[in-house]
Symmetry: C2
Subunit: 767 residues, 2 copies
């Protein structure tokens, strides 16, 4: 808590309405699927019915003959450039070249005058497959003799990680209690309301793509590489986006295939995934098999942790290497201990690819850790909150894996959650079948390292003031995917310049008109894009103050601006309007422009791989959940949740609490309902919104979202993360609450009624 | 001619293809009438059938009941704010309040779901008029007892000008020859291929208008004033424009009425004028009645000029005050004399309003002057070119009305025209019925004074370099109406920065995204907007050079950039690519932005009203035309024209010669064919393209367009005017060529076969 945190801001800290609220509520907002470009064709993708097969032959002639079909393409017609996230593991192509690696893999594509014709044409493409044995079980995928998904990844090992900090064996030897437990995570997926969609236009040697994207600049990088174009000849424009959650961070076949079809036909091509295709593309949560060993002193102080993971990567690498590192790297964040060992194995299977999903690799390990900590507390006879306070990270410390933590109000979060939930009055004291549990979490505020190899700033911004001085336009590459970044960046621009929120216009997420920004992932934009905005706004403010000082015959050091009033401190009669000064500036010197950019300082990362967890700042959260379990059916009702977040300065309280609730409900879905399941041929059984259950408004509990006073010195105005962190404590707090309610411990996500019921039966057998 | 004029430029001086050429030839270019906005209604305007009438009653109820009609508005439903160009003469309203002042005046309007319904609805509006006597003859309009067009302009006098420089009576007394002749100009109109069109959208308290506009920033100023909105709440975006020529410099009813209907209905409204409405709106050439008296010495030196004008302003003032001043102010530009008197009278009639048309008020007085100069030369026995050379303006001189001329290669123009046309071999020596004649002209390069009262720079520009360093985006308010300004400004940006034309993207003519610029009129953009571009480009170049000097370990003074190569002069091994340096700049310092703005220096204007002619620079031109007259029919064929223009440095030769040809053909139309004619009720008889004849490709002569070497110190890279100047010499050169061919002198524009034939008959009678 810093003195600065009490500053009375003018624009930030206020729950202004979202800048696009009217467009969204009136339906004027256009998502990529809504857009129409003159002459546009509709593209459709033919997908593999097999989990693993060799393509022997594709006959497209009948499809080509269908009236209304403009093009039918296979791998022969498109670049065979392999792509992916990390150059060492480029393993995916626009269309499958020799083999398909999962059900739903991309085999061929059609562009036609309308969707009906395109769908008919797909049915006319003859593909001859040689079906190959498939590997579907990640726990067996690395065994000798299993089918190979990719020839270059021996024994299907995508990445193998061994990290060793301190001497964990010695720590265990010195511990009073050492526990080993195994946990099983679930294969969840993002389920954005809007499926992936893109329109590609190829004109005058330039490719323009309107896309449902979390990162137009990152898309531009990949797409230009795959098609062998100059980056400047690829323009990616974000349309309104109906949710991403990590699934729209890399280009999908919607972009690649529509671009290939546009280049083939010379006409714009739109591809909108249906819901099943979203499941095929996936890139959702890895199912993690976790073996966790923790040793503590008699007083509950954690001495060492050894975590072993086998995670199911599915067909392609995508962002999965980072996911595997995050699983381990984030474990030492919120509790302070000195000895840590982490063995991770990401394996390939013939299932849809897993990658980044809200919280990235961290939520399931956090579930395991929070569950085990409660078990240890019970063994020690300690209160679960007490054991967390004993180990809670403190401000201005460095984790064993070299993550530098500045602000940290984790203890305050624990105290406040305890207080507002009436923990003391409830823990162990609720009626039978009811229980209360705690889970905690912490998360990065943007990644310390760039998402691809570049020395460009992570974020940059330009602000232009109109010649009348009445409006400011913020040009920024940051990406609003529904979370409200356009709104809070506009608030920041207003605060920095000294004008009102209503005066700010924003142009964002277009590679041609907005400067470089890595986009919406890793909870980075408020801090990183915010820094660029503040710097650009400060540059405007400085120029206005200099001129105003001249006009008011005052020292620049005495002049300030607040909500459009330019004034001399201590001389209330000496004021000018912002309009007047800005207009006078334009008259004297031409356009009034401010620029800003941000790259994180060199951050930790002295341990190989652990660099994945480096960030300028970290958030912390404690969550307490209250549940009611129907012991007859195993049905768990979460009745109330108290979330206390340490997120630094708040820019927009409404949006912030919306993020907490959204993350918490997403965590709830993963904790209680969600799992993609497959038959023994690798075909998904519930790739639809009827059978893949996400929480609805009727399922979710009452949420009390509270904050602690906090100021992050590495953030502009003291900000840090909020968008993902609240997914982390949820699973553990539910499992712990269920234990409190009915005395059964669940290790296997999601915590479905069936599993709860079976655990109750098992407990009964033991009694 | 300056040494600098021989500099070998890298990008300017090249005939690169127009930046929008592909869009235009493929039909992809969208003009305002092509645009569709979701939910859009079609607006139509009910116009007066009477030249002068009182509106007694308007009944809109039947129109309102027609299914598909969303709104019917009259003056009661819209702001009654008077508008116009000069605050002293705001005399027009969105819809007529009490009286209609011309046939086609705006009475009511409808918005409906489609055009058919809107047209039907117009027919259902009942208007009760009291028809009033109309004044149609400008020569009688100021007589006592004539109907008053506007109550506030006594005797229908719109403006009365009396300017007196030197002592013209004394000059005449000292002259060897003094001639007085009367000339009659014609009421011509612009005839842009694209009629006026606009779509207005009213959303969240903001008005957005896509318009066929010569000046979005000027439209923004007027429209916000009329509707009582903040300028920042009005956004005007230029669509592709199919010609303006002065007729789209102020908002028309297309903008005002569509905006009013959009605000009334809450839905976007499009209005596209039909051709008749373009004639009703007009704002074209004033018909000028000119009495010109000139006194010269025996040697042909002009001693004094007295010009008297009565010009027909039509119904509203519009830009007509400036037109009236230009008529006189431009006369002393190209010939040097010391005594000048100018009496001008602009009068109102119940005819469509006249205002600015290519060349503004200057072409008809120039026709008169060039004709009379030939008559005087004949009296003196001088060659017409000789008398022009005796009087030709020289560089670095000031006119009697305080116009400061820097570069001036008028004598060189005369010499070159003489030479290339074989004047000496042809003048007086061609077979009967054939003749050759000369006419000259000179024009401003932008107005020295702003078009409305503001201290904003006349032009401003921002250039942003992409993070990859591969492209530059130029943001500029300048307005491409087909003349190619986007192209030449992109060339200038490339030249200034040191990159290639193909690397430049341009965003122009949008009040929200581009900085202030007065727009496309007075031949101002190449010089004024060009200055802003050069300044912005220089700022980029300076930043690149500073960084490159650092990277190359050289002195910044030794580093230069040319077509993307950054090099150390004299060290050919020390080079970097522009991409690399610009990308490195972004990495180190964030966005690379340059800004520029331009306001002309304080220019002349020590004489009231003469300020209208002040400009940073003036062009000069000599035009020689060869004609063949059919004496049986009076038909004149122009067989060849030689135009020699002094326009300073050339940015794009193809576009420049295209401007010369376009201006010349427009001058030809006015000289030979064009005149809007009315019946005795003030109803136009030829308000269509069948009966109002403009030259077609089959009518126009072969044109030899040549330049003289010239460098204008007030222009960026030495540029000055070309877009309008070539209209000026045409009329006079034709009249003089006809005289040379058949010995008859024509004083009355246009020089139709009928007039030529009648003059031939009159001459025969005299013989």
């Amino acid at each position: 808590m810093s003195e600065t945190s009490t500053k009375d801001f003018s624009v930030i800290g206020k729950s202004v309405p979202k800048i696009d609220a009217r467009d969204k509520v009136t339906g004027r907002a256009k998502y990529a699927g809504d857009l129409k470009v003159p002459g546009m064709l509709i593209g459709k993708i033919l997908r593999s019915p097999h989990a693993h097969a060799r393509i022997l032959n594709i006959n497209t002639s009948k499809a080509m003959e269908l009236p209304g079909v403009a093009a039918v393409i296979t791998a022969r017609d498109v670049p065979s450039t392999f792509y992916g996230i990390s150059p060492a593991r480029y393993d995916e192509t626009i269309l499958a070249i020799e083999k398909v690696l999962q059900v739903g893999d991309k085999v061929a594509a059609v562009a036609a005058v309308d969707e009906e014709t395109a769908v008919k044409a797909l049915a006319l493409i003859d593909v001859e497959y040689e079906v190959l044995p498939a590997v579907l079980d990640p726990l067996r995928a690395m065994d000798e003799g299993q089918p190979q998904v990719h020839p270059q990844y021996e024994r299907n090992i995508s990445v193998e990680i061994h990290q060793d900090f301190g001497d964990v064996e010695k720590a265990f030897r010195e511990s009073y209690v050492v526990r080993t437990d195994c946990f099983q995570g679930n294969r969840a997926t993002h389920v954005p309301m809007e499926p992936h969609a893109a329109i590609s236009k190829w004109e005058n040697g330039k490719l323009t793509i309107w896309s449902s994207s979390q990162s137009p600049h990152y898309f531009q990088y990949h797409i230009s590489r795959v098609f062998g174009l100059k980056m400047g000849d690829v323009r990616v424009i974000k349309a309104f986006v109906g949710g991403g959650f990590g699934g729209k961070l890399e280009p999908s076949a919607a972009e690649y295939v529509s671009a290939a079809l546009a280049m083939k036909t010379g006409r714009p091509v739109k591809i909108v995934f249906d819901r099943k295709e979203v499941f095929f593309h996936n890139r959702g949560r890895h199912a993690q098999h976790i073996e966790l060993t923790t040793g503590v002193t008699k007083e509950g102080k954690i001495l060492g942790v050894h975590a072993k993971f086998i995670i199911d990567g599915g067909s392609y690498t995508s962002l999965g290497i980072a996911s595997a590192y995050y699983a381990g790297a984030m474990l030492p964040l919120i509790y302070d201990f000195d000895h840590f060992k982490f063995d991770g194995l990401r394996v390939h299977t013939n299932l849809p690819s897993c990658a980044a999903q809200r919280g990235h690799g961290a939520p399931q390990p956090r579930f395991a850790f929070e569950s085990q900590l409660d078990m240890i507390a019970k063994e020690l006879g300690m209160d679960p909150i007490e054991i967390r306070k004993v180990n809670a990270r403190q401000p201005n410390t460095t984790t064993l894996n070299d993550l530098k933590v500045n602000s940290c109000e984790f203890t305050a979060c624990l105290d406040k959650a305890t207080e507002i939930s009436d923990w003391a009055g409830k823990k162990g004291k609720l009626p039978p079948g009811q229980g209360i549990g705690i889970g905690c979490g912490g998360f990065i505020t943007g990644a310390g390292y760039p998402i691809y190899r570049t020395r460009l700033p992570h974020a940059s911004a330009v602000i232009k003031i109109s010649e009348q001085g009445d409006t400011a336009t913020l040009y920024i590459g940051a990406v609003d995917i529904g979370q409200g970044s356009d709104t809070i960046l506009a608030q920041m621009a207003a605060e920095a310049v000294g004008i009102n929120y209503e005066d700010v216009r924003i142009v964002s997420a277009d590679t041609e008109t907005t400067p470089h920004d890595f986009g919406a992932y890793a909870s980075r934009q408020t801090l990183m894009s915010g820094h660029a905005v503040k710097q650009a706004g400060d540059e405007i403010r400085r120029q206005i103050i200099e001129l105003a000082a001249d006009l008011l015959e005052a020292n620049a050091a005495d002049v300030d601006i607040d909500r459009r009033v330019v004034f001399v401190k201590g001389s209330p009669e000496k004021t000018l309007t912002f309009e007047n000064v800005a207009n006078e500036f334009f008259i004297r010197k031409g356009p009034l422009v401010g620029k800003g950019s941000y790259a994180p300082p060199k951050l930790g990362g002295k341990f190989k791989g652990a660099a994945v967890g480096t960030s300028p700042a970290y958030s912390f959260a404690a969550q307490i959940s209250q549940v009611e379990v129907d012991e007859e059916t195993g049905q768990v009702m979460v009745t109330k949740v108290w979330d206390v977040h340490d997120c630094g300065t708040v820019i927009n309280p409404s949006l912030l609490h919306g993020q907490v609730e959204g993350a918490l409900f997403m965590g709830m879905g993963e904790a209680m309902y969600e799992q993609v399941v497959f038959d023994d041929k690798g075909k998904p059984l519930n790739a639809n919104l009827g059978e893949y259950r996400v929480p609805t408004a009727l399922d979710v509990p009452e949420v009390i979202s509270e904050l602690v006073d906090s100021y992050e010195p590495a953030g502009p105005w003291g900000v840090k993360e909020v968008g993902e962190g609240a997914t982390l404590p949820t699973m553990g707090s539910y499992a712990n609450a269920i234990y409190d309610a009915i005395g059964v411990r669940l290790y296997d996500l999601p915590l479905t009624p069936e599993k709860v019921w079976r655990a109750i039966q098992d407990r009964k057998k033991l009694l």
